[in-house]
Each structure stands twice: as C-alpha cells, then as structure tokens.
C-alpha cells in the first residue's frame, strides 16, 4: 500500500528498504480498515479508543525501535517514523498515544533505567498491558522546564514528591508516570526522573476538558501530595535537564515524521473532493485557485518527507543533533498545519464537519504546533545554532 504516484511524486518509496515499506504498510492497513471508519465519532465524543491498544500492541507498535530482548520489534528509526506517519494519518491523538508510550516512557526507561526497571516495565508496555505517561510540563513552566516547582525530598529509602504537572497525554489512564522533579530543593542540575505508579497514595490524575484539539486522546493534570516513592523507582542513569530533553528530542524526531501523515490525509482527501465536487458546471479541481492550493500542499509534503527521511537516517547513523530535530519539527508541523487549513478551504462548508478529515487534523495540529517544543522555541534553538547567541531570555 505504497502512496499513490500522485502523492509520492519524488518516488520516496524507492529510498526505503523492504522492511521499512512493510512496516508502514502494515500500520496503514490497520488505519484504513479499523481506525478511519470510526475516528470521527471518537473525536466528537472526546474519547481515546482503548479498544485499539491490544491490536497495536499485537502488531508491535509500542517500543518498536527498542531491542527485541525487552519484547520490542527492534526496528530502525526510519521504519518507526513511517509507523508514526500512518498513525497520524489516522489521528494525531492516536499517534500521540504511541509517541508518549514509546519515546517518552519506554525510551527513558530503556536508556536511563535499571535492569530491574527495564525488565519490569518494557515488555508489559510493549504488550500494551501497561500504559505510560510523561510528566515534565507544569502549569507555570512549559518552555522553561528548568524552573519546575515539583520537588522530591529524600527520606531514608524513599523520596517524597510534591507538586503538579499539566498537559500530560495519557495521564489519567497511565499505569506508570515518569515524573521529573528537583531533588532536595536543588537547582535544575538536581532534576531526576521517578517512576510513579498508579495508586500510590497522594498521586492523582484528572482529565482536562473543553479541548478543541486532540479530542480523541486523554490529556490530564497530575498532582503529587507527599507521594512516597521508593528509591528503587528513581531512574539511575541520568541527572539534570539532559534526561527529559533527550526524551523530547527522541519524540520530536518522530513527530517531524508523523505530521506528514496528517498532511497526506488532508491532501489526498482534498484532491479527491476537488475532483468530484462540481461548481459552475465543472469539478473545482479544474479551477486555478484550487490547483494552486493543491500544488502548494504537494510541494510542502515532498519537502517535509525528504527532511524527515534524512533526519531518520541521521538518527539511525547516530549522527543526529538537536538542531536538526528542531528544523524538521519546525518545518514539518508548520507545513502540515497550513496544508490542513488549505484543505479545509477546499472542502468548503463540508470541511467544517467531522465527515471530512481536514478540520480534525487542523485542530489537532494546533496542539502539535505548541507541544514538544513550541514552534517559537525551535526557532530560538535554530537561531542559537546559526548565530551562537542565546535568545531564550528575550
């Protein structure tokens, strides 16, 4: 189920290995058969479809790039990016679930966890029997995580956590939360990651309501009131902001790949609609204004795919830098958002309903534009890389 020759104008398919194509086509088949027919309803009802989790787990989507010894598929980063692209072609909420599970939870446990923590969590998370979430952002600290207020105070063989986190995907359904906190009133260098388990006294999660974006996904606030966490639940392998930032870097690379899926869904849907929708006695695809929109969309999709493919290859070669990730996330999310808006306009009035995919993707991408490093933060990361001057403080 490779892309149609119209969408794959640059034959990017030919640049993929047989396994990479097979991985993509596997997930694409699931999305077409089992997800897309129902997503409009899930989005409308503001519900993440838990029933798809076992199927995705059986296919090996969770933790796909992690090694087989922990029950994962051991795919490369390009294959994983393509998997995310197809999930996002379904809905960004579904892809966010997989990104959080894999890049923000399984990845840090694998990278920074003890062998015991890995053995306990990774196979269960790969099977979808344990769901994870990632707590970094706080009500007052988003782009500036170093200012976080959540504290962990050492008390014998335990740490006592106090504070709160917000905008946490999967928060209310998670069995394990990776929570980043400053230890013993230290500065950002004292930040450590803790594995908080569902049901620990003082640890609660509440969903955020009133969202107009990522409706087919749970977004929550976490709160910690004197939560006693065994010292064995601390991630031993990392200290300071490097921990959470390396997770984000891994997730952001996936997002750069993923959003092309939303863009493709919007482009292909809009093209099909424009070819069938008649106005003034001919298909609206025959009008120059529509053709310009479609040409702009395809051009941006081709560029975004080439950037993310190169980024995936660099990651697989171990050469990727945060600046490269920032450029890809910044370019691709912006492009996808504009494609979704443009597609919405081709669908006309029909485009504002959930019968057609454009407005759902458009609303979702507003979140993606802001999360995982806002568009603005990525601008500053690139600005610093270009000039050597740090503009984060203003």
């Amino acid at each position: 189920m490779s892309r149609s020759p119209v969408t794959d104008l640059y034959r990017i398919d030919d640049m993929l290995t047989a396994e990479e194509r097979a991985a993509r086509d596997l997930v694409a088949g699931f999305i077409d058969r089992d997800y897309l027919p129902k997503v409009g309803r899930w989005f409308r009802d503001g519900k993440f479809p838990m029933e798809v989790v076992p199927t995705l787990a059986e296919m090996g989507v969770f933790g796909a790039p992690l090694p087989t010894e922990y029950g994962c598929a051991g795919m490369n980063n390009v294959a994983y990016g393509l998997i995310l692209q197809e999930l996002e072609r379904g809905d960004s909420g579904l892809r966010s679930f997989a990104s959080v599970q894999t890049s923000l939870c399984m990845y840090p446990i694998w990278q920074f966890g003890s062998e015991k923590q890995k053995r306990r969590w990774l196979p269960e998370m790969a099977k979808g029997r344990a769901i994870g979430c990632f707590g970094l952002t706080e009500p007052d600290f988003g782009s500036d995580p170093g200012g976080m207020r959540t504290r962990a105070r050492k008390d014998g063989e335990h740490y006592v956590l106090n504070g709160s986190k917000t905008w946490i995907t999967n928060g209310s359904i998670a069995d394990v939360a990776i929570v980043w906190a400053k230890v013993d009133d230290g500065d950002s260098k004292s930040i450590r990651g803790f594995l908080l388990e569902k049901g620990m006294p003082g640890f609660t999660a509440q969903d955020i309501h009133g969202k107009f974006s990522l409706r087919a996904s749970f977004t929550s606030e976490l709160s910690f009131q004197d939560v006693r966490v065994p010292a064995a639940n601390l991630l031993p392998g990392v200290q300071g902001l490097r921990g959470p930032l390396s997770c984000l870097n891994s997730a952001r690379a996936g997002i750069a790949f993923a959003v092309t899926g939303a863009a493709i869904a919007c482009f292909e849907g809009a093209r099909e609609y424009a070819l069938s929708r008649q106005m003034f006695g001919k298909p609206i695809a025959g009008f120059q204004l529509t053709q310009e929109k479609l040409a702009d969309m395809l051009q941006e999709i081709v560029k975004a795919q080439l950037v993310s493919l190169r980024l995936g290859r660099l990651k697989d070669e171990g050469k990727v830098t945060p600046e490269q990730v920032s450029l890809a996330k910044r370019n691709n999310v912006k492009a996808a958002l504009e494609i979704a808006r443009s597609a919405r306009s081709i669908f006309g009035a029909n485009g504002i309903t959930d019968e057609y995919p454009a407005i759902r993707h458009m609303l979702n991408l507003e979140s993606v534009f802001t999360y995982e490093g806002t568009h603005e933060v990525h601008t500053l990361i690139l600005g610093k890389a270009i000039t050597g001057l740090d503009a984060f403080g203003g």
């Binding site: 189920m1 396994e19 097979a22 088949g29 699931f30 059986e58 296919m59 598929a73 051991g74 795919m75």
Partner: protein, 265 residues
Amino acid sequence: MKILVTAKRVEDYESKIKVKPDGSGIFLEGLKYKINPFDEIAVEEGLRLAAKHGGEVVVASVGGKEVQEQLRHALAMGAHKAVWVNHAGPLDQLGVAGLLAKVCEQEKPDMAILGKQAVDDDQNQVGQYLAELLGWGMATFASKVESLESDAEKAKAPGLAVSADGKAVRVVREVDGGLDTLDVQLPAVVTTDLRLNQPRYASLPGIMKAKSKPIAELTPAGLGVDVTPKLTITKMAAPPARKAGIKVPDVATLVEKLKSEAKVV
C-alpha cells in the same frame, strides 16, 4: 503437519486499472501490488492449522524477484519458510500448477491451500490443475459455518477440520442455496473462499524475523517444467462505462419510463 500455501503477487484492488487503448494489456505505471487476498486467507488458514496441530507452513510463489515482497509478507504473518520459483516471463495457469506440483513433490506437504482464484485474472484454475497433476483429492471454495464474528473466529480456530487420525480434512463449501460438507483424504488441495477466515495483521517483530527466514530459489528449468503458455490473452477491454442517470419530473413520468424504456412494470 506440513502445509503449503501460495502468495501470488496481484495488482492492489484499490488501484485504478486502465486498459491500454490497443487492448494488449493494462497500464502498469503507478500500480500498487499486494498478495492475492484469497491467498492471504490461505496463509492464515495454514497458520491456524499449524498452530493447532503442530508443523510448519511453507509459502510458495512464482514470478520475478518482486514476488519476494509477497513471500516476505507471508513470512511476516508467521509462515516458516518460502519457496520462490524465479520466472519473470509469461505464464498460464497450467504452467503455474506444473511448477507448484514439482514444489509439492519436493516439500511433501500434507495439504496445499491456495486462494480459489487470483483477483487479477480471476481464472480459478490453478488449484484444480494442481490436484489433477498430483493425483490428490480436492475441495474448492472452502468456507466456514461459523460467522466471522464468532468467538471461535476470535480465537483464530481453523475453519478446516482435520480428522482425529490426521488422514482427512473436512471442508465446508458455500454452494448456491446452502452449504456442502466434504471429507477429503490427505494429502489434498484446498482452495479458499472469502469467508473462511479474517487474515491476521502481520507484526513488526514478524517483519524483522521474516528478514532472516529462508527463501529457497528454484527455476522452471531446474524443476524440469516447460512453462510455455498454452493460453494467450488476445485482447483486453474495459467494461462499457455506465451512462449517467436521468431525473424525471414526476411519478407519472417515472412509471411511464419504467413501462416503455426499462420494461420492468
């Protein structure tokens, strides 16, 4: 038990097929390919039988090197090994059956399960030829009594029931107006209908494992089969395009047209 299944490479039924103006074939540019859906059902059935009774599933295909993609797909679903008959030239159904018969002689399966037909040329011949060439019993259009939504389906139980002594297989066939139940002595050829099972998704670990599963390469010459086609396609034509419907102003005109033009009332 050992089961041989097939994996023909066919044009994706979701592709737009266009016939060349001179009728010599179809435009291949931009076409997508996948495993013949009936063969995918055969692979699934083979896997379920192997899971229930023990044994292995061998998947076979004939074609140029591109058919390895379909073999890998079956391997990723769980087939144990693959046989690829490398032949890029023209083939007819008897040629394919001749090659598969030789493969069966080498592999000695207890059962060969094939799609009842391929969705590209819809010939519905290879399974029948194969049974004839091998002198095996045959049951075509295997279906299943239980609904696909049943618990049994969910448990991925095979739709083909092997007898307790392992010497026969019971096949339920859909025929006009009912079901036909056959017991066929093994070894046998079974061809699958649409409602035998719902093929599983492959898995990402399966795709990775498929990389290291063996694909044995054979050739028609090596197997001693002359595949010179006895059947040639002389012309292809697209079905006539449907005419646009018309709108009638009132019921009276509709009834009049149903009488005079459609002649149905």
